[in-house]
Symmetry: C3
Subunit: 210 residues, 3 copies
């Protein structure tokens, strides 16, 4: 079991956990837990594989679906024990994002050899599961909140690709990408850091053309 | 014309009808009817085929697009005759879901041979069209309502796959899955049944970390 | 460089610009600009290529991603100079839609030979980027506004396909489709034209079955 397999399962399992926590915040039934856990757990990787033109990972190895199902069931029975489900959701999401942006960049590089495609794939894979979760759970998308989120996935993917291109070994590159993403997202979460935002007037109501 | 072809066309046509009914509730123009009918009618099956790595069904046989177009046009001229468009939408959606969860599981089994993948595919195919319709029409997603919905698609897919695995003939398995899904969704609709929901406090506002 | 390559880059670049303008309206950071620009710029074409079963265009030629990135960066530094970002967004979107509905129909015809599939592909490619942008930016989808939008993409795709089928040369067919779409969308924008909408009562609240 190498570093990449670990990142893959960590990403799927923790994203599934955040989907289940989101379901518990919305007071869904057990099937709602399973559904949101599965979409969040395998959603980003599914789009990654479709775009890369490779077989979708969980169609080849359905064990990933079982990982999501077991995670969702465990969260269903334990979420009430957590003091703050939302804080758990954010931190598990941070670790999952960090694992999965590296794995996505790795798979992109493997499939195409292009660093640009690998970086886009890492960013997409690290963030898409969480975006799908928020859209389906009707929460405001993390994209629109003043937080470092996509930035962390981008940084992790860039760190991994650069480390790989300069010739570091795969586990070292993986750790570099993972640590870069988690540090940025974690510091952002802990300290409320954000990048400077566009400092003009916000958009008017869409019906107001002025 | 075998059982599976019937289920396929019933699913596409009725999902298209629900998309058109949703368009009529939003007072869209005829093109809005066509667009929502097409997305709802072929959306779930499109994602199914992409994930399974087979050619998208309506690209091979564009007749499915014509079915959606004809259905949308008919609904455009007749929806005002319905006493309650929303009740029609819910019941047509129930029949479409029941047909399409079986057909999706069948196609998943055919393509991969894996019962787990077949069950996921059936659940996805039965529910995704309706979810896309609700997201595009800006209605609260059925996922978040306290109703048996995904459960019915899951039950239908499981019933079909179990019947098939134990060796029943294809039409019998198809009927078993269809009846299981429709009974569960129909009873849920008629009696307002729901699974017990997660009984803790709902999630706080996302900006409230407490 | 032929007509189709021009349409392709015009579509990607202008859609990316509208994504960046949407990000500026939401006061996102530079990474938010890049993300929304990329999703809007290549989103419609990505889904088009997946459905057609051909390799996703920007995975083959990552230059498209760089186009989105450069556009987003330029908009980040200049959007405050625009008198009305929303009006710019709408008009750039109109030109992008007109270019991309023709290119989508062209690629659909090339891949399948079916006029019906080509028309669906053109309509989808011209509108999906904008719909994804609005869903992610949490703006009301253009689908639900009383405006000619999908209609323009459909008209452009039909005009191109008809011109191509009757034997006009490719550049002439492309111009015909582009002008048809832009005229319809532009006149709609300029004059506030809309198709007659479905004139019954709007849908009740989903929780109200009556």
């Amino acid at each position: 079991m190498n570093a990449m397999v670990v990142l893959d399962f960590v990403g799927v399992g923790l994203f599934a956990a955040t989907g289940a926590l989101s379901a518990s915040r919305k007071q869904l039934d057990i099937i709602g837990f399973l559904f949101l856990a599965a979409v969040t757990g395998v959603g980003g990787g599914t789009v990654r594989d479709l775009i890369l033109g490779v077989s979708v990972f969980w169609v080849i190895e359905p064990i990933y679906i079982l990982v999501c199902g077991i995670t969702a069931t465990m969260i269903y029975f334990t979420a009430h024990l957590l003091e703050s489900r939302y804080r758990w959701l954010l931190w598990l999401d941070a670790v999952a994002l960090s694992a999965y942006c590296v794995f996505g960049a790795y798979k992109g590089l493997l499939a195409t050899g292009s660093p640009v495609v690998a970086i886009v794939m890492g960013t997409l894979t690290g963030t898409l599961g969480g975006i799908l979760r928020d859209v389906l759970a009707n929460e405001p998308s993390v994209l629109l909140r003043r937080e470092i989120y996509v930035t962390a996935a981008l940084a992790g993917a860039v760190a991994f690709v650069v480390a790989d291109v300069v010739g570091l070994t795969e586990p070292v590159s993986a750790v570099a990408g993972f640590v870069a993403a988690l540090a940025i997202r974690g510091i952002g979460l802990a300290l409320g850091w954000a990048l400077p935002t566009y400092r003009s007037r916000p958009g008017c109501n869409p019906d107001n053309m002025g």
